[in-house]
C-alpha cells in the first residue's frame, strides 16, 4: 500500500471512530440531556402532556389534590378533525376529582414551532391574571428547552416551572432504542428544539 492510500485509510478510520464515539456519547448522555422534574406552587397548572401513552392527567389531578395550584388549563392543538385532546383531558380530570369550575380549555394552532405556541399560552395566563404557572409537559423536555421556555415566560412577567410525571420519564427511557415510538419521540424532541433555533419566528 502506498503512502497516499495509507493516509486516506487512516483518515477514514479516524472519521469512523469519531462518529462511533459521538453516537456512543449521545446514547450514554441522553438521561443528562433531559431536564429533571421541578415542582413549585403556582397560580395555574397548564396541562400540555395530554396523550394516551402518558399519565399526564393522573399527575395533574395529583398535583391539584396536593394543592400545588387551584386552577388548571388543559391546552392542545387539533389531533384530528375538530377533535382537541384538551377537551377530553378536561372530562378525564373531572372524573379524577378536579372541580369542573377550576378547569378551562385552551386550543392552539397546529405547529411544530415552539415560538408560535408560547405567546398563545402566555396570553391566556395573562387573561387569567396568573403570575406563576406550573407547566406539565411531555417527559422528553430537554434542559435547554426548559431554560428557553422559562426565559420566554419570565420576559412576559410569569414565573414558569416545568414538570412531568416521573413514571413517564422512566418508561420513556427504558430501552428506548428498541421501541419505535420512544425512539421517534426522542429524535423528534431533539430535532424540533434544534430546528426552532434556526428559524426566527420559532426561537
Amino acid at each position: 500500500m502506498n503512502e497516499r492510500k495509507k493516509r486516506v485509510l487512516r483518515r477514514a478510520l479516524i472519521t469512523l471512530a469519531g462518529l462511533i464515539l459521538f453516537l456512543v456519547g449521545l446514547f450514554l448522555s441522553l438521561p443528562l440531556l433531559f431536564a429533571p422534574p421541578d415542582v413549585a406552587p403556582a397560580d395555574v397548572i397548564m396541562h400540555l402532556a395530554i396523550e394516551a401513552r402518558l399519565h399526564g392527567d393522573e399527575y395533574v389531578a395529583r398535583l391539584y389534590a396536593e394543592g400545588v395550584a387551584r386552577k388548571v388549563i388543559c391546552a392542545s392543538s387539533q389531533a384530528s378533525w375538530e377533535v382537541y385532546p384538551a377537551d377530553y383531558a378536561r372530562a378525564h380530570l373531572i372524573e379524577l376529582g378536579v372541580r369542573a369550575d377550576d378547569i378551562s380549555v385552551l386550543h392552539f394552532p397546529i405547529t411544530d414551532c415552539g415560538g408560535e405556541v408560547m405567546p398563545v399560552l402566555i396570553s391566556r395566563l395573562k387573561e387569567q391574571g396568573a403570575k406563576s404557572v406550573l407547566l406539565v409537559v411531555d417527559p422528553t423536555v430537554t434542559r435547554f428547552g426548559r431554560w428557553r421556555t422559562r426565559s420566554r415566560f419570565q420576559e412576559a412577567g410569569i414565573n414558569a416551572t416545568i414538570t412531568f410525571a416521573s413514571e413517564d420519564r422512566r418508561a420513556m427511557l427504558d430501552r428506548w432504542w428498541r421501541t419505535h415510538w420512544k425512539a421517534q419521540r426522542i429524535v423528534l424532541t431533539l430535532m424540533n428544539s434544534s430546528l426552532d433555533l434556526l428559524y426566527a419566528p420559532c426561537r
Binding site: A52, Q78, A91, D112, W177, H180, W181, D196, Y199, P201
Partner: protein, 189 residues
C-alpha cells in the same frame, strides 16, 4: 478553490431540492378495491383526498386509520366522522385502530384486504411520505397491488422547493430522511 465554492453554492440548493423530490412517488390513477388514507395528519387532508377519490369512483370503499389519542378519544373515529361529513356513507368506511406507524398500518391493511378478498388499494398520504409508504406496503403486504396517490404539494402541504427555508417543511423533510434510515435497516418495533 473559488470556482469550486461558487459551484457548490449554486449546486447545493438544486441537490437538496432533488433529494426532497425523491421522497415523492405518484402513480397514474387507476380504479382499485379500496382507497386508504394513512393516519398521522391532524388537519385530515389525507382523509379529504381519499374521500375525493371515492366520490370520483376510483374505489368503492375507504379505509381511515388512527390511534387512541387521549382519554376517551380515537383519531380513527374522528377521521371516519370527517369522511362521512364529506359524503362517504359510513358503511363504506373502515377504521384501522392501532396504526402507530406505517409498518403497522401496512400489516393491518394486509389483514383487512385478505379478510375481504380485496386485491388492490390506492394509498393517499402526504407527498413527502408517499415513496416510503408505498415501499413499506409493498414490503409487508406483498401479495396485493398498491398505487400511490399523494396529496398535491401546495400549502399547507409540504413543498420540496427550497424546503430548508421553511420551518415546517424542514422538520418534515429531515424527519422523513431519518424514517427512511429506520425503514431500510428493518425498522424498530
Amino acid at each position: 478553490m473559488g470556482a469550486a465554492a461558487v459551484t457548490l453554492y449554486f449546486l447545493t440548493p438544486l441537490a437538496l431540492t432533488a433529494a426532497a423530490r425523491r421522497l415523492m412517488l405518484t402513480d397514474p390513477l387507476v380504479p382499485a378495491d379500496v382507497v386508504i388514507a394513512l393516519g398521522g395528519d391532524a388537519r385530515c387532508m389525507r382523509e379529504r383526498g381519499a374521500a375525493d377519490l371515492y366520490k370520483r369512483g376510483f374505489a368503492p370503499r375507504v379505509i381511515v386509520s388512527g390511534v387512541p389519542c387521549a382519554w376517551g378519544i380515537h383519531t380513527g373515529d374522528a377521521a371516519k366522522r370527517y369522511v362521512t361529513s364529506l359524503g362517504v356513507p359510513p358503511d363504506d368506511i373502515l377504521v384501522l385502530r392501532k396504526s402507530w406507524n406505517t409498518r403497522l398500518e401496512a400489516i393491518d391493511v394486509a389483514g383487512v384486504m385478505r379478510q375481504n378478498g380485496w386485491h388492490s388499494a390506492i394509498i393517499v398520504t402526504s407527498p413527502f411520505h408517499s415513496r416510503r409508504a408505498l415501499y413499506t406496503f409493498r414490503r409487508y403486504a406483498s401479495e396485493f397491488t398498491f398505487y400511490s396517490a399523494p396529496l398535491p404539494t401546495e400549502p399547507p402541504e409540504w413543498q420540496p422547493e427550497r424546503w430548508w427555508s421553511r420551518r415546517g417543511d424542514m422538520g418534515f423533510t429531515v424527519r422523513e430522511f431519518f424514517a427512511w434510515i429506520n425503514t431500510l435497516v428493518g425498522g424498530l418495533r
